[in-house]
């Protein structure tokens, strides 16, 4: 057996040990829940003036009839799964919102490409008007442009022919002003966040400064770029490497109306945002440098007059929730009145901008909630079926109790109490397990993936590098209460049947 096989064996036995420990822990936890339920029962029945037989006999029926466990397990699974899945979906939604908001700021002014000879948008004046609004906290101008990324000695053609990897070649260039970007988006946070695969920039306060690895003795001053963490890794880059960016630019002389321009840039480092897609598809460059590149000017030249230098303005509000609607309307009118924008421009909130994706996730959350509620409903039906069976089995006991002085109401309470214990234990155990699983889902997934040697959650497919999960106490409470009431409702039907049994018939049942 070689070293690798030995290591695999050790990993497997360690995973099995972990699994055994987890199952043992769960069994202990279940016992604890049953003990808690028993204490709850004792306290509860001291408060309710119910005959002692209700507590006594219902509990005894519950623990002496293993079939009751099926109902408990059903409720446990339903509640646990519902809480876990809804928490994950809420986490997805929250994380998506946070990431999108982080990279987009609160509002986005979209300035569509200008056609010559129309004059370009004046970024400076637009920013002045926007910043003059007291509701605006910060604003920054963006120049976004598509580009094709390649590197010296790289395998760009190979990448183009590979549908999986071609996405690493076609990327988005984001021209930004560092100081403005820091105040209006999560740019700075993405620079200082420890990279997963890449290399951080040498100095986050001056991210586009040439990296120490850059050999300036070559004599050509080059502009720097900062690549997304995963894009950086996909091209196997190091800080100080050169990359060639190829962009389409308008060219009236060309047959198709555009031509390609290329330029070499120095890699200053990588950034890691909380959005996987950004890390795969975005390259930051100084806005002025991108504008010069697009206009065909050298790095150290003045920007030619009339050159396009802005395509979006990102706006951060002091209080998004309260000022959103008024600012959106008034700011747009103010910019239009000053003739800084035209009617082809659009001022959208980040939610409007990413509306379809947010709506899709919200829809999925609702649909999953409905589907898992059906699981819970099935569990309630199980309780109903088990209790119905039990009432039939216990006809004689109902007759005995009646002969000894029980009222029909008491018979009802005994069987309703069994449903109550099913609901209490199942819902409580399910809630605890669901919450723990929801909080630890990322670690559990990683552990399970390692133990089973299967990738359960593909982080390259999703837009996050961890499985997000947000446990909402109100939602957990609503699920537990819903499961509880639903179970009681379903238990009430057989319990009512028990109350209507003729004791004489029941006693004859020998």
């Amino acid at each position: 057996m070689n070293e690798t096989e030995t290591l695999t064996e050790v990993t497997k036995s360690s995973a099995l040990l972990d699994l055994a420990l987890a199952l043992g822990g769960f069994a202990l936890f279940s016992l604890l829940v049953v003990a808690v339920a028993y204490v709850v029962m004792r306290v509860l029945f001291l408060a309710i003036p119910a005959p002692a037989v209700v507590r006594f006999l219902s509990w005894r029926y519950l623990i002496h009839r293993p079939t009751n466990l099926i109902g408990v397990v059903g409720i446990f699974l339903g509640v646990g799964a519902l809480i876990m899945i809804l928490s994950i979906m809420t986490g997805f939604l929250e994380q998506t919102r946070t990431s999108m908001r982080g990279s987009l700021s609160d509002m986005i002014l979209l300035l569509p490409g200008t056609e010559a000879p129309r004059r370009p948008y004046d970024a400076q004046k637009i920013l002045e008007v926007v910043r003059a609004d007291p509701r605006v906290e910060a604003a920054s101008a963006h120049l976004s442009w598509p580009c094709f990324l390649t590197r010296e000695g790289g395998n760009s053609l190979l990448m183009l022919s590979d549908p999986q990897r071609s996405r690493h070649a076609f990327v988005q260039l984001a021209g930004i002003d560092v100081e403005d970007e820091k105040t209006s988006t999560e740019f700075h946070a993405s620079l200082v966040r420890p990279p997963t695969y890449g290399e951080s920039v040498a100095d986050p306060t001056a991210p586009f400064a040439p990296p120490p690895e850059y050999d300036s003795s070559m004599g050509i001053p080059r502009a720097s770029v900062i690549l997304g963490d995963q894009l950086f890794a996909a091209h196997r880059l190091r800080r100080g490497d050169f990359v060639t960016l190829i962009i389409p630019v308008r060219d009236p002389q060309s047959e198709y109306g555009f031509a390609a321009k290329e330029r070499e840039f120095v890699v200053a480092g990588s950034f890691r945002s909380s959005e996987n897609e950004m890390d795969l598809e975005r390259i930051y460059v100084e806005r002025g440098q991108l504008a010069r590149f697009m206009a065909g000017a050298n790095e150290e030249d003045e920007l030619p007059r009339g050159a396009m230098n802005v395509s979006q303005v990102l706006i951060k509000l002091r209080n998004y929730e309260t000022d959103r609607d008024a600012t959106q309307l008034e700011l747009y009118d103010a910019l239009k009145d000053k003739r800084l924008i035209d009617s082809s421009c659009q001022l959208a909130t980040w939610e409007e901008f990413r509306g379809p994706l947010l709506g899709a996730i919200e829809n999925e959350r609702v649909l999953l909630g409905i589907m898992l509620s059906l699981v819970l409903l099935v569990a309630c039906f199980t309780v109903f079926a088990i209790l119905s069976m039990m009432v039939s089995e216990k006809r004689r006991d109902i007759g005995i109790l009646t002969a000894l002085g029980a009222t029909p109401r008491l018979s009802l309470m005994v069987f309703l109490a069994i449903g109550f214990w099913d609901a209490l234990i199942g819902a409580f155990l399910g809630a605890c397990t669901g919450v723990v699983l929801a909080l630890k889902i990322d670690g559990i997934e990683r552990w399970l993936s390692a133990a089973l040697d299967v990738q359960i959650f593909n982080r390259n497919v999703y837009i996050f590098d961890t499985i997000p999960s947000v446990v909402e106490p109100l939602a957990v409470g609503a699920i537990v209460l819903g499961a509880f009431l639903c179970t009681l409702l379903f238990a009430a039907i057989p319990a009512w049947r028990a109350a209507r049994l003729d004791p004489v018939e029941a006693l004859r049942n020998e």
Binding site: L46, I400, G405, L410, L507
Partner: protein
């Protein structure tokens, strides 16, 4: 004996069952009196209506007409709760097939009348005393080694002794026994009967014993006979 007050009185009790829209009369106006401390045997062939009459007297089956008085109170004019309380406090039942609750131990089965009659708080408060009384009763019935056994772990005779202890636990003034030895062999049945009569005499209980056994009936002070829904010698002379 004749000076003893009547604890159970049935007057003109009629009962019919409806089968396929036709009324099948079972009881044709039955009268019965049971005095305090009296042993009354109720005999009759199968289908005579003994069980139906017993269920009416035991407040389990409502008669079509007539009255059942327990300690002077008209039981069937009471509400459901009142009747249940009366059953719990004044009547003890011993059935032919024991009718013990399988999930409970011998002691717990004996405690059932208290479990039904008391609320949780009261039961918990008196638990020690009640446990002690139930244990004492079972020990007296020779079940010292069977206190924590469940019905399935007991023999027929032991089960019937537990059932008898349960019927007596609440000290009811009236004991209704429906063929208590019908499911036991002669020797075991004899032992159970000895116990039954001994407790009846000691507690001055009014015993209504339904039986097919003439020899057993002879051991009662009075024998009422039932035939085709009619009763003879139900009233005291």
């Amino acid at each position: 004996m004749s000076l003893q007050p009547i604890v159970l009185r049935a007057s003109a009790v009629k009962k019919a069952y409806r089968i396929a829209r036709r009324a099948l009369p079972i009881l044709h106006g039955c009268d019965l009196e049971l005095a305090r401390g009296e042993r009354l045997a109720l005999m009759g062939p199968s289908g005579a209506g003994k069980s139906t009459f017993l269920h009416v007297l035991g407040l389990l089956d409502r008669p079509d007409s007539g009255h059942v008085e327990i300690n002077g109170a008209d039981a069937w004019s009471m509400g459901v709760d009142g009747r249940a309380r009366l059953r719990n406090a004044s009547l003890g039942f011993v059935f032919q097939f024991y009718h013990l609750v399988a999930e409970l131990t011998a002691v717990e089965n004996v405690l059932l009348p208290s479990l039904i009659g008391l609320n949780t708080f009261e039961f918990d408060r008196r638990r020690k005393e009640l446990d002690g009384r139930a244990t004492e009763l079972l020990v007296r019935f020779g079940l010292k080694e069977r206190l924590k056994h469940r019905p399935t772990q007991l023999s027929g005779g032991e089960r019937q002794r537990v059932a008898l202890a349960r019927a007596l636990f609440h000290d009811p003034p009236i004991l209704i026994a429906d063929e208590p030895t019908g499911n036991l062999d002669r020797e075991t049945g004899e032992k159970v009967l000895e116990l039954l009569f001994e407790e009846q005499a000691r507690r001055q209980l009014s015993l209504l014993l339904v039986t097919h056994d003439e020899r057993l009936a002879e051991r009662c002070e009075r024998v009422a006979r039932m035939d085709a829904g009619r009763i003879q010698n139900g009233l005291r002379a």
